[in-house]
């Protein structure tokens, strides 16, 4: 899921200087599971901002709400009236949710209440780790289900680099060496031959390095056709 970290309250308070009606919107999906922007975090932020308000007298009036998925217009539309009546919207969703509201209501000022960090999983209570870089070319079928792009500090495709020791990465000794893990996994699966296979350089143009990406699923498009069956532009 998308992982995010809460911004300091003071930073959000600075963004809101001069505003009166403030709407704080959370999201019940990724950021809720990651304890960054769900219902509880919305309540906490509003309580903290109320304290700042009481201390500094900004005259803020708060409204708070949480939507199922802030990155989808269908879930944002039901709170349209609240958005329109607010001077400022603080989004506790990831960058996708905040931009969905900002794009739907371009006249409204939308402020991010979290810093969107990475695609990761909860490793233990309160610990989230990155496991996918969304590079656009998944190669885990030959690395034992462990992503070398996200989990190796150097994103090595023909690892290991030689710098790891005792199964730990030389870049960060607290991090497990991805290629050590891949070796152990392939050994367990009886597929160690894959370790000697030379892999061609990765095509980074499929990642964000190639610019903003877009997926078009023609089978999902609702595209009208004319009498001859030719697609007509909407």
């Amino acid at each position: 899921m998308i992982r995010a970290e809460r911004k300091p309250v003071s930073e959000i308070a600075r963004m809101l200087a001069g505003k009166k009606k403030v709407l704080v919107v959370g999201c019940k999906t990724c950021v809720a599971i990651g304890h960054a922007g769900g219902e509880k975090e919305v309540a906490e932020l509003v309580s903290a901002l109320r304290l700042v308000n009481a201390k500094e007298g900004h005259g803020w009036q708060f409204e708070q709400t949480v939507v199922e998925r802030q990155c989808e217009k269908e879930w944002v539309r039901p709170i349209e009236e609240k958005i329109i009546s607010a001077d400022a919207v603080v989004s506790l969703a990831c960058g996708l949710g905040a931009q969905t509201i900002a794009d739907m209501y371009p006249i409204k000022q939308v402020y991010p209440g979290v810093n969107t960090m990475f695609l990761g999983v909860p490793e233990e209570q309160g610990v989230f780790v990155e496991k996918c870089l969304a590079c656009g070319e998944c190669v885990m079928f030959e690395t034992g289900g462990i992503c070398p792009v996200a989990r190796c500090a150097k994103s090595m495709r023909n690892g290991a680099c030689g710098g790891s020791a005792d199964g730990k990465c030389e870049v960060n000794l607290e991090t497990d060496c991805a290629w050590y893990m891949i070796y152990e996994r392939l050994k367990l699966q009886g597929r160690l031959d894959l370790m000697t296979k030379v892999v061609e350089p990765k095509d980074w143009s499929k990642s964000h390095a190639g610019g903003r990406r877009k997926i078009v699923r023609k089978d999902l498009l609702i595209q009208p056709t004319d009498r001859t069956g030719t697609e007509v532009k909407k």
Binding site: P8, S47, N53, F62, G126
Partner: protein, 138 residues
């Protein structure tokens, strides 16, 4: 001192509340500034409730739970400690004194020690600048 101060104490109904009752039986009374809110477990106390207590006029907030190694609900006190620390961080971030919030752990038989810790907390809060909240809490 106690006439002016207001301290809200969120107290778990298990070991912590038993400690207060034990102290009461032994003739000790709560500091005058302390107002008790009994809750099923400190692990169920969320951060907004602590912030709202301060915003509502409390000079200090004490969260009193079981000893961590003997928590009635196993991890309640540990969760509460994390949330109290979160509130301390928020208060520091918004230029308020983190000392206004404190986690206190108590065994049901340690009423006297709990009262001593509460009195110490009351003294610490009393030594802080008077909280001046100008705007209305909405």
């Amino acid at each position: 001192m106690s006439d002016k101060l207001k301290i809200v104490a969120f107290v778990c109904e298990n070991h912590a509340m038993s400690a207060i009752r034990a102290a009461s039986i032994a003739g000790e009374s709560l500091p005058e500034s302390v107002r008790i809110i009994e809750i099923p477990c400190t692990g169920r106390l969320e951060t907004p409730q602590m912030l709202e207590a301060i915003g509502g006029g409390a000079d200090g907030v004490a969260v009193i739970g079981c000893l961590e190694e003997n928590c009635y609900h196993d991890i309640g006190s540990m969760l509460a400690r994390g949330r109290v620390n979160r509130i301390k961080d928020i208060l520091k971030d918004i230029s308020m004194e983190p000392e206004r919030v404190e986690m206190i752990n108590a065994a049901s038989v340690s009423g006297a020690m709990l009262m001593m810790k509460l009195r110490q907390f009351e003294s610490r809060v009393a030594s802080l600048p008077v909280l001046s909240l100008k705007g209305a809490i909405q």
